[in-house]
Subunit: 446 residues, 3 copies
């Protein structure tokens, strides 16, 4: 069975589908899902990420994969699985001065288990604070070097007096599995768009519950539409997850036409789109075009080999066309990787706005095609096809201008996105013009 | 017989020929010709355009062509011929409240004949005004949808009281011909430059009597010079004229190397050159270079598929190297397509300045060649050829600098225009340097 | 015997070698050498340039070449040799009102001998002054037109009363030789870098004793290092020297990979690097990169066919990748070619800074290579190679960033300079990262 091809008005409709929802309600839904995920202590393996995938799987079809500890993935090895039940530092009076139950950021993520009594002087080298932000707990990890530690606010640290402390990290670091989830939506072609989110950070809202919730909604939305492309949503542990996925799917990456890493899309900042390593991939151009034709402030960032999992997708052996969409940029906002990246830091309206933006980008990818002007010698007479204004002499509007642009550049060389870029007219308007001209017999799809 | 090749001083001489005339007198001549053409009620067919071609033909050799109604030209059909004798709207007292004899803009151009008595309420849908410019009569047309109407100032309209009006348009719309004129000037080669002007607008001065008069003078000037290129001046009805010409000359357009649409070149605004669809054609670069080296303000506009007959010449099937020279840009000045685009709106000095600019552009096209430095290893000793200053140690002037640039870049890859662009030195100066070096045996034409 | 390949820390070490010297002392040394050369009356041939080469030869290995008068070199002929012993203009009281012994600029360089008694009115046409700078003696030459003359300050000229003057130029202009010097430093390959300085100007400090002294020190420095490239330093008379050298080495210029003309590098102005005719040669990019990553103000100038001996190296038949490094640009500073370009006009710190800049540029050329990432699929695990930070969660520094950039772009297409340009990280840092990755087995030289 071949999938029915939707008419254009339906096809540029992913953003329209978003717009049919009440934005306030949509934002609330996204934020509520983030709130549900927030308390879970996630890491790159273990129960936390499994619970997270469970909750995502309640919303969209999700297939989970488990990869055993010790599996070689390119230059890396899947690490032991980490699980934690409790952790604290008690003072001599038995009071928990650092308590994992209050915030899962308090434990150095991937800490080895420990039970010991230590003088403060010996404990200090295992304590992490941010003196410049004395009220905030930092988020720190030690995945690949076995170590243990506690993170706490600098003020908390200053309150700790000399003396002996009881230290407990009730965790396990044993052979187990690395877990990730895939939501695959088959389209008309097997050409694929991947959307990748890291799902390994504990109670941090913008980085990256925002990405998880927006991606989940996007998958839901796409699952209800006809799709030219197949879409694969990856909910994976950062770095090791992307590397593991690529190692296990090395032969299949040739299907990937476009990709997007989604993260930090819930805060109040303007958009930042970081280009793929290629720099002029269709996803890069689609994202920039859509950003130019919307109202929020934005910046386009050139590719750099630091950041999120685009690092792996864009590594030189793969060099995939994968960009990264953010609002505030990792490392550049003071709440980054601290306890201040909490549920107050992300906003319903911003989450909904990010969803809408992604929808508009995918609308471009879905509908970007080349057409051939069937009447390339001089303009066709649009008037007798009701595609022009009847009385001459006054100005023509953008609607007619879009038709003239499509006719002028549909020479087999220019895609609709090319035409949108060169004309300065928004992609949906160009797309609509192309459809009208096609219906009028003036244009053929190539 | 091979045509004699002029020496350089003669060859960069089109602008020089203009400069030998008294600018005030030249401007007056151009304006006087516009004044002579102004009263005629032109349209895309009929007596008006034939009279216009007659007057142009008194000044330059002009061949007229007639194409019968009904002829298929690409996607279009040559329309019926329109002629008008009189038109008015009389109020109940018999007073002509709208009178074609006062301004031929008063009639919707291409109106079908009508004689009727109508209540104002029924008449209203046939009346066109510009409320934002209440003193001006708009120019409106209905070439391809049979209709009738009157154009009037909004103040005039507000003065019309309820009641009955006698409406008369004494026009005919019958089988006939579409007429256009060509002035062809054979050059040393059959490679061709076309200059195209629409000759179909009634009493509108800038759009496009300015273009007609400047083009006529240019043709006169060129007819008196040796020409490398052949020149073809087209005086045609807008849109349908260009389409008709292209349809009848489809096999011959391969000869066209460069082209220019001339319109709106008489008002007080700075120059606007709109690039061809190719965007970097030689005419585009020549026009930009000349504009940079003259004193009036100017802007370079990217190609867009709206505008004048460059729309047809640059349609994707032809994609000719045709740009458009204007002063104020159509649709962007308030007088556009209103009765305020009258003989006061165009100025002798501006008409003469436009003529001079065109001359300079054609000087570039005529003289742009590639040369080969016959002494490419190190500089030749210019001093012993009297092409350098004798005493060393002080600065060299632009004259010597131009020679060094020509020598440096005459490697078979760079044309004189390339050299002028890269050096920032004006084309005539570069051209003069090339001629001196050629005479000095240091350069050979390729 | 193959030359040992230095380790990286040694190899980006030309600038480091400069930095190991006390800058004040280094500057003093350079200035002292300029002071030693200053009094000599140099010209494009004769004893002055031979003495100059003698003094340079005391510091670095220098081979001298003599080319007889009358030798044809491309379009030019090696001129007669000029030597001068004394010159003066005496007034009627026997006082030397113009005296070569006080400044060798007083004589029009290459003056023919004369002994005569002349009225001031007849003498005037042989006197050169700069009325706009009345205190300064101009530097003027007449190499290729036999003439004699005196240069003097305009104030001096105004003091000369009507009357008779005894004129003497005790010079000779006879068959002889044109002399130049080469310092050739063989490197690991015969691919060559040329550094060219004109050595023909008399008592002018910036133009070009600054170039001679910096080049001499550079040659000394390079002679003490392992070199990938062979280096050839040319100390030659301007124009005719470069033409002569090119004529005699025409078959060997294919070895030249990069080149630099050094002049006016001692004054207080910011740097100016003038690009080669190619415009994007490796030397052009290396110079621009180094200039961007140092503290002094600078400008990049596009190529033009005037200037110094880059005129000859970049002539279209050769089109070598030779740029020109200056501080203030010839002809644009008022002291240019006047007696004010003296030893006070050049400064020890500026001479040392220019040397340091050249060293940094050559460090780029020496170390610019392409590498291949041996682990191109995903990032390699830098952590277990001690090339990453151990605790995750906080920012990565430029050191790690440089490694990620090198890995990302070492796909066989990008050189280290490409990577430095794209990342915005300085070349030495990129180079260091490449070496660490190579040592870590992650990168192979191509």
């Amino acid at each position: 069975m071949t999938a029915p091809i939707r008419t254009l008005n339906e096809r540029v409709g992913l953003r329209k589908a978003v717009d049919q929802r009440d934005p306030a309600e949509l934002g609330k839904e996204l934020h509520a899902f983030a709130a549900q995920l927030y308390p879970i202590c996630r890491s790159i393996s273990g129960e936390g990420i499994r619970q997270t995938l469970e909750l995502i799987g309640e919303r969209i079809p999700l297939r989970k994969f488990s990869v055993p500890t010790g599996t070689q993935v390119f230059d890396w090895t899947v690490p032991k699985e980490w699980n934690i039940r409790d952790a604290y530092v008690k003072d001599s009076s038995g009071r928990r001065v650092i308590d994992f139950q209050k915030s899962n950021l308090h434990v150095l993520n991937y800490s080895t288990p420990i039970r010991a009594s230590l003088a403060l002087s010996d404990l200090k080298s295992h304590l992490f604070t941010i003196p410049e932000q004395p009220d905030r707990i930092p988020y720190r990890t030690s995945y690949y070097k076995e170590d243990w530690g506690f993170c706490l606010s600098h003020n908390q640290f200053l309150d700790m007096h000399e003396g002996w402390y009881e230290v407990c990290i009730d965790a396990s670091l044993d052979n187990g599995v690395l877990t990730y989830g895939e939501c695959y939506l088959q389209g008309q072609t097997s050409d694929e768009v991947i959307i990748s989110c890291h799902a390994c950070h504990p109670s941090l809202a913008n980085d990256n519950l925002s990405g998880l919730t927006v991606a989940t909604s996007l998958a839901k939305l796409l699952s209800e539409c006809d799709r030219r492309y197949s879409y694969r949503f990856l909910f994976i542990p950062g770095t090791i997850g992307a590397i593991t996925w690529l190692a296990r799917n090395q032969d299949a990456v040739g299907r990937i036409r476009h990709g997007l890493v989604l993260t930090c899309v819930g805060d109040a900042g303007g958009f930042h789109y970081k280009k793929s390593r290629r720099g002029n991939a269709e996803i890069d151009r689609a994202a920039e075009h859509v950003l130019k034709h919307q109202a929020e402030p934005f910046s386009i960032l050139e590719f750099s080999p630091d950041g999120y999992d685009e690092r792996q997708y864009c590594s030189p052996g793969f060099n995939l066309s994968v960009g990264c969409l953010m609002r505030s940029v990792w490392g550049r906002f003071p709440e980054y990787h601290t306890s201040a990246d909490n549920l107050d830091f992300i906003h319903p309206a911003q989450l909904a706005g990010s969803l809408r933006l992604c929808a508009a980008i995918f609308d471009v990818l879905e509908n970007n095609r080349k057409y051939r002007n069937l009447n390339p010698f001089c303009e066709p007479q649009l008037g007798r096809r009701n595609l022009y204004r009847a009385t001459g002499g006054d100005a023509i509007g953008e609607e007619i201008s879009a038709r003239l642009w499509v006719l002028s550049l549909s020479d087999g060389e220019h895609s609709l996105l090319d035409i949108a870029e060169r004309s300065g007219i928004s992609f949906p308007r160009i797309c609509e013009a192309a459809e009208q001209l096609r219906e009028g017999g003036l244009l053929a799809s190539i």
